[in-house]
Each structure stands twice: as C-alpha cells, then as structure tokens.
C-alpha cells in the first residue's frame, strides 16, 4: 500500500548522527520503524514529571530515534500524546519534520471502548473516538491507525464487522488505513488467527502482522504468510528467542513478498535498557531484511 506513505530520502537520513561507526544500509533503515512503547520506562509523563529515570520527552522522540539509530519512522500509542489540540499537533508535526521522520502508525487503546462491545452505544463511542484519531493521524501525516479489536467473540463478531466498516469508510475518505494485529495472551480469551483474518476481510481493513503474537510455532507459520499479504505496509517485530525465531519471521515475510515496514516493539523481557533492547532487534532486522 502507498497511501500517505513516503520513503525518507537517503540524503536527509545521512544528515543525522548515529552511534554506529559505520552507517548501515539506508535502504534497510528506511524499512524500519521504532515504537515509543519500547521506551516506556524512560518516557516523561505528566503524572510523574520528577521521575529521574524518565528523561525522554515525547516531542523529542523522533529526533532521538533518528540521531541514535538512523531510523526515521516512529510509531506511537494514542496515550503518548499530552494534548489533542491543533496547536499541540502542529508543534508535534513540526518536530517530526525537523527530524526528517514520519509517524508510521498510531495505536489506539480506548480502555473499554472497542468494536467488540455488546452495547451499541459503546460501539458508537468507539467509532466516534476512532474518527477523532483518524483526524489526528491526518494532522500528523500518519498513514495508519491500529485498533484493539477486543474479544471478537462469536456473539459480537457481526456487529464488530459492521463497526469496522463504518470506521473504515471514514478512514478511506481521509486517506488513512485502519489496521488490526492478531493478539494472543495466555490469560485472555483469544480468537483463532483464521477468524481474525475473516474479520479483516469482511470489514475491508488491513492486517498489522506481529511475529510475537501467536501461541505456537504452527499457528505463526500458518498465519504470517497470509497476514503479510494483507497489510497496509507495516508490521510489528518482537524478539522472544525462547518462543520463536525473529529471523524466521522475517524470512516468512520475504517469502510472502512483503516489502513494507518492520516496526520494532521491545519490551521489558528484552532487557532493562530500552536502547540495548531496540538495538538488538534492529541488528536482527538489518541482518535479515
């Protein structure tokens, strides 16, 4: 997919400094994004302004990622933003452009508001809030918003599809993609990946493949070739060696003809230092894409 997408020019990327002695292949770096969630422990928040461990302002995030890693795509949670007023987003956009970067995707996690709500009023509120964030994505030149689909339980699946269609119609008019990723947690009520694929197809939205979000090797290997063909040009990459091989996941994507972005999602399980955790996944990507 190409809507609102752009490739950051090599010249501008080279202008930023990097910790590496030898700059990696810029064409590969241009296919990599980094999620703000990787830096959760050190991101400043309004609720803990005096925390000495929190040293990174979200406004500076794109600059930091460009300078340190030579990566010019950054991905945010909607909860990262301290305001949704036009003036704030104008300044945010200015800072993104200053770093020669792009917001790759905004991930929406609205607490109890999601497409699987049984209550039609809640689904309508989910639609309205998603529309607001589609507008905010446009304000930030961001081509994608990703939703949390909730349970997609059989009894709400049809209304969830109807809700997604309404959101998608709005997004299309604004030139923004709506994506969803497969989710799996041992302690949650999970929907099988093939049902997830059916919902995406039925609603006309796009997949955000995530190498880490499967219960086992079999489902991962069956699902990823399909999901990489249903993207809006972006995916998530985790590294959990005891569960799966990240390199194998990238190999599957290449075999499926995927030419989009790999966005790094590092968590606490990757180590206490977020910079190191991101670097580890970045090195795997550079060696394999």
């Amino acid at each position: 997919m190409k809507r609102r997408d752009f490739l950051t020019g090599s010249a501008s990327a080279l202008a930023s400094s990097a910790a590496w002695a030898k700059r990696p292949d810029q064409a590969k770096l241009n296919r990599i994004g980094i999620m703000s969630v990787c830096f959760d422990p050190i991101l400043k928040t309004p609720s803990s302004p005096a925390d000495p461990k929190r040293t990174v302002d979200i406004m500076d995030f794109a600059d930091l990622i460009a300078a340190r890693y030579g990566v010019h795509r950054v991905e945010f949670q909607h909860t990262d933003f301290s305001s949704t007023e036009p003036a704030y987003f104008q300044e945010f956009r200015r800072r993104i452009r200053k770093a020669k970067s792009q917001v790759n995707q905004i991930n929406l996690e609205f607490a109890n508001l999601n497409i699987s709500a049984a209550d039609p009023v809640i689904r309508l509120e989910a639609i309205e809030l998603t529309k607001s964030w589609i507008d905010h994505a446009v304000e930030l030149d961001c081509p994608r918003v990703m939703l949390n689909q909730g349970t997609l339980a059989p009894e709400v699946r049809q209304s969830a599809v109807g809700t997604l269609k309404t959101m998608n119609a709005y997004a299309k008019a604004k030139n923004v993609f709506i994506t969803m990723e497969p989710r799996w947690r041992a302690d949650a009520r999970n929907v099988p990946w093939d049902v997830f694929v059916d919902v995406i197809k039925a609603s006309g939205i796009y997949a955000n493949p995530d190498i880490g979000n499967f219960p086992d090797k079999e489902s991962r290997e069956a699902a990823l070739p399909i999901l990489y063909r249903m993207t809006a040009g972006s995916s998530h990459v985790k590294n959990i060696p005891e569960k799966f091989s990240t390199a194998d996941g990238i190999k599957i994507s290449k075999e499926a003809g995927y030419t989009g972005i790999y966005t790094i999602e590092a968590r606490a399980n990757n180590g206490p230092d977020p910079y190191v955790a991101v670097q580890t996944i970045l090195d795997i990507l550079l060696a394999n894409i």
């Binding site: 309004p46 609720s47 909607h78 909860t79 933003f81 301290s82 305001s83 949704t84 007023e85 609205f110 607490a111 109890n112 508001l113 209550d119 039609p120 009023v121 809640i122 309508l124 509120e125 639609i127 309205e128 809030l129 529309k131 607001s132 964030w133 309404t166």
Partner: protein
C-alpha cells in the same frame, strides 16, 4: 439570557400542527417548553430493546409526536439515543425535525466511564475528543447546547476538570454551541464555582438537590448562569415544582423549561409529561 443559535418557533408554523387539546394553550408559553426523549424511554425503539412490543416510537418520529400531541416544538436528547452519528442519519434526523417545525434544545452527553473528573489524563483527553464530536453534531442539528456530566468533581481532580471544561468550551464557542452542566448530586456551591472558573453555563434542574432547603438558594444562582435552558422534574415529596418556577421568574429567567419525567411519575409516559406540562402552563 443567551441567544446563540436560539430561535423562537413562528406562531404560524406552530399553528399548522395539530394537537390533542380541545383548546390550544398559550403558544408563547409552549414555546418556552421542551420535552426530553428520556420521558419516553420505555416507548422508544432501539437496539437496546429489540422485540419489546411496548417500544413503538422511533427516535426519528419523536419531534413530530411531541409537536402533534403537546404543541411543543423543542425536544431534548441523550447522546445515547442516536443509533448512528453518520452524516446521512443526522441529515435525515434534521429533516424530520424541520418537518415538525421543531428544534433540538440540548443533547446530553453521558459517556461510559469518560468524564471531566477522570484522574487519568488520557481519559480526560478522550472525553474532550468525544465531546468535540458531539458539539459538531449539535451544530449539524442546529442544537444550541450540549450538557456534560461532571463525574463528581472531587477536590483532587477539580482543577484538571476545570481545564478540561475550558478546552471543551473553547471548541463549543467556536461552533456556536453552549457547554452546560447541572449540579447532579454534587454540592451545588462547588459546581457553581467550577462553572464560573471554566466559563461554561448552568443547566438548572429543580429535581437535583439532596434536601428541601438547597433548591431555593441554588436555583436563584443557577437560573442566572444558564445558557437559556433548564430542567423541570416533578417529585412532590421532595420539592414543589411551582415554587421552582416562581424562583425562575423572580430572577428574571426567560429561557426554556425542559420536562424530565421518569417511571416514578407514572407508568404512562404521556400522563407524566402532561402532568408537568400542566404545572408549567399554570405557572410560567
């Protein structure tokens, strides 16, 4: 009294609608009265009541029914009444309102788990964004007011609640829509302070006080802070509705009285609305 987006229905248009009454009440009085959709909740069709044989009234027909039956051309809705907020639905809704020569008096926003008193900044931002969307829909429906719920306004969140209201109000002003709030179950003096600090407007409600003493003091203040609309309930064992209307008149209130009934008034929503309407017509 505020005039933004307000209009008085022309007598000619109003006279064109039929009424169940043998003798038409004073139209000038009827023009100052609204009826809330909430009064007819048991009769309203909706996805929440599929298959309920008593639910015979489509939301699209509410304004027409209220105009026809009561000669009232102001209707007030909950945001949750609307089965869709898509442009085509709202366009049709507006067309049906105009057909009834009616106006939406106010839309009351009661978002699940989202309000200005949320300690979590993210929840407050979501409340702002949803409120903005409903301000847009109010403007699209020629509705002059949206009412927000205050969520408690506990001391530790009060300042952030005021800031949240200010952001909403700035947007409301730009769209020519008033943001209002009623005291609910909170101490009315504190709510008055919050309303003043935020620059928004009061929606006086004679039924929303914990005791018999508060309404007399509070209503005198609140009617002067309105955006041209107020709420009228009828709970005889708690307060005298006629006394509340008298206070409104004493402080020079010239705005709308919006009828709010519930099942405690009568099992028949029409009888409940009629009872309050008769009190209003006798006292305003």
């Amino acid at each position: 009294m505020m005039k933004r987006r307000e209009f008085l229905m022309s007598s000619a248009a109003v006279a064109a609608s039929g009424s169940a009454w043998a003798q038409r009440p004073d139209q000038a009085k009827l023009d100052r009265i609204a009826v809330m959709s909430l009064c007819f909740a048991p009769l309203l069709k909706g996805t929440a009541r599929p298959g309920n044989p008593k639910a015979t009234l489509d939301l699209m027909d509410l304004a027409g029914m209220v105009a026809e039956r009561y000669g009232i051309h102001r209707v007030e809705f909950q945001h949750a009444d609307f089965p869709s907020a898509e442009p085509t639905y709202l366009q049709e809704f507006r067309s049906r309102l105009r057909q009834a020569n009616s106006q939406v008096n106010q839309i009351n926003l009661d978002f699940a788990n989202l309000n200005i008193s949320a300690p979590d900044r993210v929840i407050r931002l979501e409340t702002i964004d949803l409120t903005k969307r409903w301000i847009d829909y109010a403007a699209a429906l020629d509705c002059p007011r949206v009412m927000v719920t205050h969520g408690g306004l506990a001391p530790e969140v009060r300042q952030s609640a005021v800031e949240t209201l200010k952001t909403m109000n700035a947007y409301g002003k730009a769209k020519n829509v008033f943001v209002t709030m009623d005291p609910g179950n909170a101490p009315w003096e504190m709510v008055v302070e919050v309303i003043k600090a935020a620059g928004i407007w009061a929606n006086p409600d004679c039924g929303n006080f914990p005791d018999k003493e508060s309404p007399a003091a509070a209503l005198r203040v609140l009617y002067r802070m309105s955006a041209g609309s107020s709420r009228v309930q009828h709970v005889p064992n708690k307060f005298d509705t006629a006394d509340a209307i008298k206070i409104a008149k004493e402080v020079g209130y010239k705005g709308v009285f919006s009828i709010e009934t519930s099942s405690r008034n009568s099992p028949d929503p029409h009888a409940s609305v009629r009872a309050i309407l008769d009190i209003l017509l006798a006292n305003i």
